[in-house]
């Protein structure tokens, strides 16, 4: 029996929403335990960042690097490769985009931005190339290598930002602020923080969607993910594809880092990528968005709303904003499991269920 594609969507959406609901439920219990009202806390968290115009635009602003890191992880998951180094690639890219932005002094602001982003992307690619080559030619597990090198990268950047590249006059560890011409200016709609970078990220998302849905490369990568041996046997050069894919992923992470630098932070500090880290947030977004572009967009906005809302919750209640980290990891945990079998459509399932009831 042939079924239409639409009938699969029901359980898919439920399988995505159930983990979120469960995580919020457990989070609610935790909030109750410390003597606060969970409903109030959640409404404070999401209300302002999703349902007011200015809050929503700010949410979009914070979602832009998340879009890119989510995409960076989603494309590697698709080929069954685990690039867990997105965090390190993002920091590396962001750091050198910041250094370039502070030291370059070009007349054209567009060119300066372009160069900074190119440098950020190049750094991301460079850092992703190490595990990619090790994986493709020496069979080294890329997941372990990327997880380890993240720590190495954090240490190196800690040294660089507190040593050679430290801003002389500042009281804490940071690099010099980037030039005005390298900054993405706020668009000023409703007094929000939204910049052009969001639209850039959106454009990248659309381009990557096109590449992965419509071109030969995209098809090949999907094939590699399903069965690498078969892909190799049909003549695809799996090694080269893996390296290329890791490079694209690294470039996206580097771009996310430089965007974060040029639209939000303007200088590298030790808390450049926030508490959970933009790279790790990307993993949640890739999983929550089910590796699907629209899913990634929605997931990035949802998660960004949570994160910006966390600042509100911290301000008006005694709930620490680390609750977002707890929610995030719980969502990932529950997303790893399929609650419903996706082979059957929702409609058939309900019909079957009703049918069984009638018999009984």
């Amino acid at each position: 029996m042939k079924k239409s594609k639409a009938s699969y969507i029901g359980p898919k959406i439920l399988n995505t929403l159930l983990p979120v609901g469960l995580a919020f439920f457990i989070g609610g219990i935790i909030i109750l335990c410390i003597g606060e009202n969970p409903v109030e806390a959640y409404s404070m968290m999401l209300g302002k960042s999703l349902f007011t115009a200015r809050g929503f635009l700010n949410t979009l602003h914070y979602a832009s690097p998340l879009l890119l890191t989510g995409l960076a992880i989603a494309i590697t998951f698709k080929a069954n490769i685990f690039n867990m180094g997105v965090e390190g690639q993002l920091l590396f890219g962001g750091f050198f985009a910041g250094i370039a932005g502070a030291s370059l002094n070009l007349s054209s602001s567009v060119m300066e931005k372009g160069i900074c982003m190119a440098i950020g992307m190049a750094c991301g690619v460079l850092f992703a190339l190490v595990p990619a080559i090790l994986r493709a030619y020496f069979h080294v597990d890329e997941m372990v290598v990327t997880l380890m090198l993240n720590y190495a990268m954090i240490k190196v950047l800690e040294y660089l930002s507190s040593g050679p590249f430290r801003e002389a006059g500042s009281g804490y560890v940071c690099t010099p602020t980037i030039n005005e011409s390298a900054m993405f200016k706020r668009l000023g709609i409703d007094n929000s923080r939204l910049t052009m970078f969001f639209f850039l990220a959106l454009a990248v998302l659309i381009v990557m969607t096109f590449i992965f849905m419509k071109t030969k490369l995209g098809m090949q990568i999907t094939a590699i993910g399903k069965n690498p041996d078969f892909a190799e046997a049909t003549g695809m050069r799996v090694r080269r594809k893996i390296i290329l894919l890791m490079c694209i992923s690294g470039a996206l992470a580097g771009l996310a880092g430089s965007g974060q630098m040029m639209s939000e932070k303007f200088k590298y500090t030790l808390t450049f990528s926030g508490t959970t880290g933009l790279g790790w947030d990307g993993m949640l977004i890739a999983l929550l968005g089910r590796h699907n572009p629209i899913g990634i967009l929605l997931a990035a906005i949802f998660f960004s709303a949570l994160k910006t809302g966390a600042d509100n919750i911290n301000m008006y209640t005694s709930v620490p904003k680390e609750i977002v980290g707890v929610l995030q990891s719980l969502i990932i945990l529950f997303l790893a499991v399929q609650f419903l079998d996706e082979r059957y459509g929702l409609k058939e399932r309900i019909q079957k269920w009703i049918g069984r009831k009638e018999v009984a």
């Binding site: 069979h139 040294y159 680390e322 990891s329």
Partner: protein, 301 residues
């Protein structure tokens, strides 16, 4: 001489948490459930051992709490990964993140950046063996370490025995190598996977206790700093053999000891030496892989 002694002592000192994680991860690796959550379980062990000791003033309770919590985490991991057949890598990473988040949450509630025990200090945990202590070099290898250090080295032999000389070890390996034949023999494959994961979480609890409570009597968030991942690399290098994998764990202990001791003399560039263990591990992993696939002429990945 003092410098050399320092390096040797520190090698043992830094090898122990990694060694314990390796011993814990081996069974899960052999049972084909790669336990990425070693890192998170170790952090949970550190956190709860120090937290409970801090709240109750009783160190034994701290030990028990750490082991209990790690067992619960192991059960969660096994339930999602084995019973629900989820992706173990994602589950493992989720557990790592959740432990960090919960520890951060509690620290924020307590309004401090770390938890420090004030009724005891790290020197109390060290065991000095009278005569051996005086012998150069051997003294720093054998004497002056904590209880769990000695336990961990004894456990290498015990784990080897458990894996190769008992029914349990053989069954776990069969389950990992060929699940269908294990099932055809009537083995309850899920049971052996659960046990393998739980054994791992027990050892991770010990690693965490050693790392935080015994060595420093202090907990700071993310103090495990990737040791769980180093342990996984060591398991990969030794291909799950207790003796070889432990050997790699000691090599990484040595790398860390070198980085710590060298950075004392490095001045401003000290932070760069912190990179040594991670780079050493990547290189070792690559070399082991090259040797393994040297005569591998088949095209493909």
């Amino acid at each position: 001489m003092a410098f050399l002694n320092g390096i040797i002592y520190d090698s043992v000192y830094h090898a122990v948490p990694i060694l314990l994680c390796v011993l814990g991860g081996i069974f899960a690796y052999k049972a084909n459930v790669l336990n990425i959550a070693l890192e998170g379980m170790m952090l949970a062990g550190s956190f709860f051992s120090v937290l409970v000791s801090f709240q109750t003033g009783n160190i034994v309770l701290g030990y028990l709490a750490a082991i209990g919590v790690c067992m619960v985490i192991g059960l969660i991991f096994a339930f999602f990964g084995v019973s629900c057949k989820g992706n173990v890598i994602i589950i493992g990473l989720a557990i790592n993140m959740s432990v960090t988040a919960i520890a951060g949450f509690v620290l924020q509630l307590m309004n401090s950046a770390n938890i420090k025990l004030d009724f005891t200090n790290a020197a109390d945990f060290k065991i000095h063996i009278p005569v051996i202590e005086k012998i150069p070099i051997y003294g720093s290898i054998i004497s002056g370490h904590t209880v769990i250090t000695y336990i961990s080295f004894v456990c290498i032999v015990l784990i080897w025995f458990l894996m190769y000389r008992t029914k349990f070890g053989i069954y776990v390996r069969v389950v990992g190598e060929n699940e269908d034949s294990a099932k055809s023999l009537g083995l309850n494959t899920n049971k052996y996977r659960y046990l393998a994961v739980l054994l791992g979480s027990f050892f991770c609890a010990l690693a965490g206790i050693n790392l935080a409570l015994e060595r420093m009597t202090i907990f700071t968030n993310n103090m495990t700093a990737g040791r769980g991942f180093i342990a996984i690399a060591a398991i990969y290098c030794g291909r799950g053999d207790p003796i070889f994998s432990s050997m790699y764990a000691v090599i990484f202990g040595l790398a860390r000891a070198l980085s710590v001791n060298l950075s004392l003399h490095a001045g401003a560039a000290a932070a760069v030496f912190d990179v040594i263990p991670y780079v050493v591990m990547t290189v070792v992993l690559t070399v082991v892989s090259i040797v393994k696939y040297r005569n591998h002429k088949v095209r493909g990945v």
